[in-house]
Amino acid sequence: MEGKELQAYRVGLFRDAARFIKNERIPYFANVVTWKVFDAGHTLDEAMTDFDVMKECVVHFLDNYPCDGLMDTGIRNQFNVTETFGSQGYYYYDKECVGIKDHATCTVDTLMDYIADEDRYVWEKVLPEKYGDEWYQKSKETWKKTFKAYMDYTMFIVKMGSLTGKTYGIPSLAPNNPMSGTISFAVEEMVANLLGIKQMSLAMRRNPEKLDEFIKAWDDKKIQPVIEKIKNGKGPNYKYCFDASVIMLSHNIMSPSQFERFYWPHLEELLKAYEEKDMNIRIFTEGSILRFADYFKDFKKGTLTFHIENDDPYEFREKLPNIAIMGGMTTAMMANATPDECVKYAEQLCNDLGKEGGFILSEGKMVSYRNDAKAENVKAVAEFMRDYRH
């Protein structure tokens, strides 16, 4: 099998697992990001500034580690755009790591200005503040070169999608059309970009009404159209492993009452829309989600798949038997155990959690740093999962 046929087969594996349908194979989703750069013999500064090097790193990974899905196809590196623009941004990198500086584009008092006219607010306030006086010195020539760099980056995304799909049969995880935007809740955008962790934490205590107002406006503008589209749509789209992929991070800084007030109503409405249409949604629940397990326990079995990070998969299965698990392999094990130990644990997870569907093996954390995993462990687990049958 290859190309589209292999992609379709793999989509079937993911969908069966998500729906608790027994399948001869349990899929392995490689949650591997920048680790593949080191494994290919490069450093991050080489890969982040050269599309050919990054492509080589992705190809090296797929040639050596059979997987059914891949978290990152080398496209999380738009440094060519920001570096052509010529001003320091929030992201930084060196030979060994990529990071992002904590930042906030709004205050709690300007959130409504932002949502009232995002394009204007970003153009006239956010960008000039971010870049300072340099913003007003950017020449037409600089802008032209930056736009060209952006087109180069876009073409790289398309090329890598085609390569991983056609040559390696890796399916897309979920619709992620940048032209229509990904699904992001107000609280996630506030933590990641608009307010930052500190301001958000303070605002939840000191200005809850202002957050309520903004979250309602965001929901009306961004989430309700998605819900409408789901309700009017045809249901599952089998071009993809999942019908949606969402990240949950901000719940980690919320108390139960804050989660109940600021997050749950909007999350619940969206999840119910997917449930009614028998669609499958994957949620990357960063940190731990089990504090809020009760909220999810009544969803129809087979709707939700949680990609768990810090939560123990056995504890998760006991508390939420209706939700499929993606995860299980820890970077601690991938980095420190032997290949035999890793394979044995992978087999145990498959037997204990996946015999009747409901399980997709993956790493809990994004495998990013050089020492996050040993190559022989990744290879042993990948090859085991490729060959293992119930």
Binding site: F79, T82, Y91, D119, E124, K130, W135, W143
Partner: protein, 45 residues
């Protein structure tokens, strides 16, 4: 230059002028979309 004399400072007038100055002709019908995606990278990156 500063905010008062930078030709691209304002929205939508300056933004649209920039789009016309830098986008290939065939992309102009999609200028808002193409520029918005570039802006996201410059804003969040």
């Amino acid at each position: 230059m500063d905010k008062n004399n930078y030709p691209y400072a304002s929205y939508p007038k300056g933004f649209n002028k920039l789009a016309k100055d830098i986008l290939p002709f065939f992309m102009l019908p999609m200028k808002k979309l193409m520029m918005r995606l570039l802006v996201v990278i410059l804003k969040d990156g």
